[in-house]
Amino acid sequence: MAKIPVQFMLNGAEKAEFIDSGTTLLNALRDKIGDTSPKGGCHQGTCGACSVIIDGELRLSCLTLAETCNGAAITTTSGLSQGGVLHPLQRAFLDAFATQCGFCTPGMLMAAKVLLDHTPDPSRDEVVEALSGNICRCTGYEPIIQAVLTAARSNSQNAA
């Protein structure tokens, strides 16, 4: 089968690759481009571990075909830290022990980032709702919720 070109912005850098038609964005990112931060959990749209941000919206890269992302701006967890400095969400996750095995963490961070991008000072219920498509089998969720709330407070203090 002939390869087809795909081109998009990944974490602010332009990426171009040749892929098989029908390749999921998850597989293109991990196997072709080398960004392994999105995780392949269920491949069914159930666990949220593969979550990425496409043009400002949270999406599941396991159910998104890469060729439908031509021209899009894609953010993954790899793009969160800048110059070796952790993103406030990453720092809050570490401080709150919000990560244990770590498999769900990239998806959780993406879901939390979209929430804080649109709702800088979320309520606890809004955090729970924002994370409702992401499954964690380790933490019991509470440390993750607290980490997102802490990051939101940190952001608002820095902005003040």
Partner: protein, 264 residues
């Protein structure tokens, strides 16, 4: 196995391409890519259309037309459709709602397809290039449908007339034990003058609770008034059994939740 995706600018061209064996229409990907990921070898090619009308929402008075590619998230945030937002938000988590489409939801097997339950209660019509059909007719033969669904249309219910309930074991979001949508109209004396009730997970696809609808007519929405409707709520149901709930359980709890919805 990789799938070949073909993109067409018009529904007409996409419909023509869909005649090839093994092809499926790609909406948001939450059904068909999921099936392919699961190993459904009957899917060998994907077709999609980028025709702008598929992504449009038009509201004229109480008449609503929603393009089949409109996502649940777009539906939930539309200012003129706030009365239906609860049903749109019942579908999946935020990422799924950014992808799942109105058109795709029509094909979602139980326990999915919660928004279609709402559309059934609303008495929607389903549009294709071949014309429009009532949603009940469409759902009954949806496996035989080979034309791309282009839109759904319905009339907005009167204020407060639409009710929706989704029951799941996982909070705040999980797969449905069942979902119920109701469009009710009441006479000035409080008695029910019109009732459309739709059920999800009580069959392999959304179904109307016609016996309950009939039993509600002329009754007030009180515990005594709705009792006859609850007694026949399970008439004609054939619930699914899955990891979330057995068919027996779904039938047992249906009157409880229908009662809560009607008395809310």
């Amino acid at each position: 196995m990789a799938l070949a995706l073909q993109t067409f600018s018009t529904v007409k061209d996409a419909n023509a391409a869909l005649k090839a064996a093994g092809t499926r229409y790609l909406g948001g990907g939450t059904l068909v890519v999921r099936a392919a990921n699961e190993g459904d070898v009957s899917v060998s090619g994907l077709i999609r259309s980028t025709e702008p009308a598929l992504s449009a929402i038009t509201v004229s008075g109480r008449e609503v037309r929603i393009g089949a590619s409109v996502t649940m998230a777009a539906m939930a945030r539309h200012p003129d459709l706030s009365s239906l937002a609860r049903a749109a938000r019942a579908v999946g988590g935020p990422a799924i709602r950014n992808m799942a489409t109105i058109g795709g939801n029509l094909f979602a097997p139980a326990p999915y397809g919660d928004f279609t339950v709402a559309l059934l209660a609303l008495g929607a019509t389903v549009g294709t290039d071949d014309g429009e059909v009532p949603i009940e007719t469409f759902l009954a033969k949806r496996e035989d449908n080979h034309a791309i669904v282009t839109s759904v249309g319905f009339s907005l219910p009167l204020e407060g007339g639409f009710r929706f309930l989704k029951i799941s074991r996982v909070k705040p979001k999980g797969v449905s034990v069942l979902s119920i949508a109701a469009v009710l109209e009441q006479a000035p004396d409080g008695t029910v003058s019109s009732a459309h009730i739709a059920l999800g997970c009580l069959a392999d696809r959304p179904m109307r609770a016609k016996a309950a609808e009939k039993a509600l007519l002329g009754r007030k929405l009180t515990s005594d008034g709705i009792a006859p409707a609850l007694a026949v709520a399970s008439d004609g149901t054939s619930p699914i059994t899955d990891a979330v709930a057995s068919a027996w359980y779904r039938n047992e709890v249906l009157p409880v939740h229908l009662g809560r919805l009607l008395l809310a």
